[in-house]
């Protein structure tokens, strides 16, 4: 077997471990992003400027600055303010905060896609604003935005490669480590790309499956 082929095959378990780390980092960031995005998305729609202003500033700022810079600020910048985050939490928080801004816009559109009559019907029955949101508006909104959320999660999976710069050994960094010992850049990077593709393709299929399952008859 030629050396260029032998390297990615032999180091496959190591790359796979990196891929698992990628999935861990991504899924925790997705959860954080969903949580932030749901509340900020609702905040954007609030009539009270105490909620809508900060939500708008957050969304605009995060979307208008590079994720790489955001990662640097949280991992290298915060310590100079006395806040030392270990690399894993730092990476997840940076990705989650970033994703939250995009999710917020998706959630906002999702809520706006539900007719106002739904909210009024809920309120007319005596449900509070939060109950109406929780039981009537958000469940319908999330069904509508599932494809968009799926895209966002896939994008986040790929973006998670950026946390390799703060020495989290996820898939990309695992590949770089292999290459630094073997100098087989093409075949190893190609294997890395393939593994990303397997992950994102599986995710897009899963989203489609969930979409079908949750579809309202």
């Amino acid at each position: 077997m030629p050396y260029w082929l032998e390297v990615p095959i032999k180091s496959f378990p190591y790359l796979l471990k990196g891929a698992v780390t990628t999935l861990e980092v991504t899924s925790l960031s997705v959860l954080l992003g969903l949580l932030i995005g749901t509340f900020v998305g609702m905040g954007r729609l609030s009539r009270n400027p105490i909620f809508s202003r900060p939500a708008t500033v957050y969304v605009e700022f995060i979307r208008g600055t590079p994720l790489l810079v955001q990662i640097y600020i949280i991992y290298f910048g915060l310590p100079s303010l006395g806040l030392n985050l270990p690399k894993f939490p730092a990476g997840i928080i940076a990705l989650g905060i970033n994703s939250g801004a995009y999710v917020a816009e998706i959630v906002r559109a999702g809520i706006q896609s539900i007719s106002h009559g739904q909210y009024e019907a809920a309120r007319s029955l005596g449900l509070t604003h939060w109950q109406a949101m929780r039981y009537i508006i958000l469940p319908q909104a999330f069904r509508n935005i599932l494809p968009a959320l799926g895209n966002e999660f896939i994008a986040l999976t790929k973006d998670s490669s950026l946390v390799s710069v703060i020495a989290i050994t996820e898939l990309l960094r695992a590949g770089q480590i292999v290459i630094s010992r073997t100098f087989q850049s093409f075949s190893v990077y190609f294997a890395v790309a393939l593994l990303y593709f397997v992950m994102t393709f599986t995710m897009s299929r899963m989203v489609r499956w969930v979409e079908k399952r949750l579809a309202i008859p």
Partner: protein, 245 residues
Amino acid sequence: MSEILRVENLWKSFGKLTVLKGVNLTLNRGEVLVIVGPSGGGKSTFLRCINHLEKPDRGRIMFDGQEVDESKVNINQIRSKIGMVFQQFNLFPHLKVVENLTLAPIKVKGLEESEAMEKARRLLEKVGLIDKIDSYPSQLSGGQQQRVAIARALMMDPDLMLFDEPTSALDPELVGEVLDTMKSLARDGMTMIVVTHEMGFAKEVADRIAFMEDGNFVEEGPPKEFFKNPKNPRTREFLSRILNV
């Protein structure tokens, strides 16, 4: 007869457009009031002010001895006593018929699920839709959806039911079943305010008919008089237009 609703000098504007101009109304328990009038005259807005879906600019609404005002009372508690049926039904499409009915009683009134289920069955029986209990709203016809919406409102044991053009979005052949459900409700003694263009229903069921135009009641009275001898020229014009089709 005891008074259940009193509206005093109610005003409401949307931007520069003044929709309600000092409306007054009293309604007794068990009464059926039908409001008619040209579109844009403020009928729907008036109805929506009663349970504060629209916040009035000025005036007072007393419901069952309590002032309907978000800053003074628990508005959710009052709303749960005022059922509302919408032109567009507004059933919750992601919930089954039975869940549409049981959600609010469980979440707002704290009913046990088994209690709520039993009640839902009883009411679906009453509106003739017990076989649709596990269907989703989109699987029902418009008329069936509106009957479910009525049952959903009744789940809260309301003291007053508001109907906002409940048959206007229906195909003509489906109007009858909804009106029948409303008639039987009226016969059971429910207090109702109905905004509608169904004059047959008004004649048959209403205790009082009120004609609203340009933000205020122009004329009101028992249906016989209202249709036979309308006093106000505006009312006469309106009636001649819709009755001589």
